[in-house]
Amino acid sequence: MTRIRSMLLLAMTLSGLSGLGNVYAAEAVEGSAKFEKLDQCVEPTSVMRRNHFEFIKHQRNLTVHQGIRGSKHSLAGCVDCHARKDTEGNFVPVNAEGQFCDACHDYAAVSPDCFSCHSTVPGEK
C-alpha cells in the first residue's frame, strides 16, 4: 500500500514538476497569497498545525452530508487563502513542491490525499 502511495506521490510530484515547467514558467511569488497578509489563520497557528486535519475532516462530513458550506474550516477556504501566484498572476497549486501544503507535509513525510480529488488552486468563488 505504501508503495502504491509513494509511487502515486512520485507521479504527482513528477506531473507537478512538468506542470511547473510548462504553465508555471515563473516561480511562486512570496507574499502573493492572502494568508501572507493576515495575522492569523482561522484558528491560532499552533492549533492549526496540530488539528487542521481534524477540522477539515469534520467540515467535510458537514458539507457532504448536511450541505453546510462556506464555514471557516472548509478546504476550499484553505486553498483560497494559501495559494500563491506566480509572476504572471496565475495561481500555483497549493500542494506543489515548496508551496504551503508541501512545505510541512514533505518534512513530515505524510502525503495528503485531498488533492487527488480537490482543486489545488482557488476556484470560481
Binding site: I68, G70, S71, S116, H118, S119
Partner: protein, 253 residues
Amino acid sequence: MSKVEQQGRREFLKGTAATAAISIAPGVMLHSLTADAAPRTEAVTDKVRWGMLIDANKCADGCTDCVSACDKENGLDLVNMPEGADESLWERQRPRWIRQVSLKDNLSGKITHLPMMCQHCEKPPCVDVCPTGASFRRADGIVMVDRHICIGCRYCMMACPYKARSFIHAEVAEKLTHTPRGKGCVESCNLCVHRLDNGQTTTACQDACQHQAIVFGDLNDPESAVSQALKKYPSVQIRADLKLNTGVRYSNI
C-alpha cells in the same frame, strides 16, 4: 430554525421562481440571486425535497444544451482523454451526468426526446447496495456519493436502473472547487448541489434549456413551480414498476 424563518425562505423561493418565470434574460436574474444568496449554515432537512418535471414534448431533437451546460457546470468537460487511450473505448468510459435519449414508440413510431440523469429516488437501489454508505440520500432528497468513503466497487452502478452513474476511469488533472473529482470513485448528477447549498434555486440544465422543458424545485412545497406543473400535467416515473418514488418525473414520454 424557527417557523417564521422557514416561512420567509419559502416565500423568498416562491418570489424568485415567479420572477424567473417572467424574466426573459435568466442570466440577469441569476446575478441578482447570487448577490442575495449566502452559503447554507444549517443542515438540510427533509422539509424540502428537490425534484424535477421534464416535458418530453418540449425537448428538441438534436439539442444538447442541457448536456453541455452540465458538463461545464460540473467540470465534466475538464476530464480529458488519457494519452494513448482508445477513442471509442474512452467514449464508453468518460463520465456523464446527463444524456440525451431518443425513443421510438414500437406501435406508433412516435419519436420522443428526453434528458436522462439520476432520478433521485426516494428509495434508491444504489444506496441500498453500497457497502460503505458512500452512496447516500441527503435529507433534501438529493442522491449523491461521498467520495471520501467510496471504495470504487461499482456495485451502485450495477444496481442503478437508470444507468445514471459514472466511474472515473482516469486521473483528472483539473477540477472545479465545487465539484471535486478523482480517479477510482463513482459519481452522478447531484442536482447542482453546490448551487442549492449556496442559496441558488436552479440547476445548470434547467437554466440552459431554451425550450423550458425542465422545471425544477421543491416537491414538498405545493406552491412551487414544479409542484404546480406536476398537479397540472400528467406525468410518469421511469421504471415506475420498481416503486422507487423518483424525484425526477417526465410528461409526454
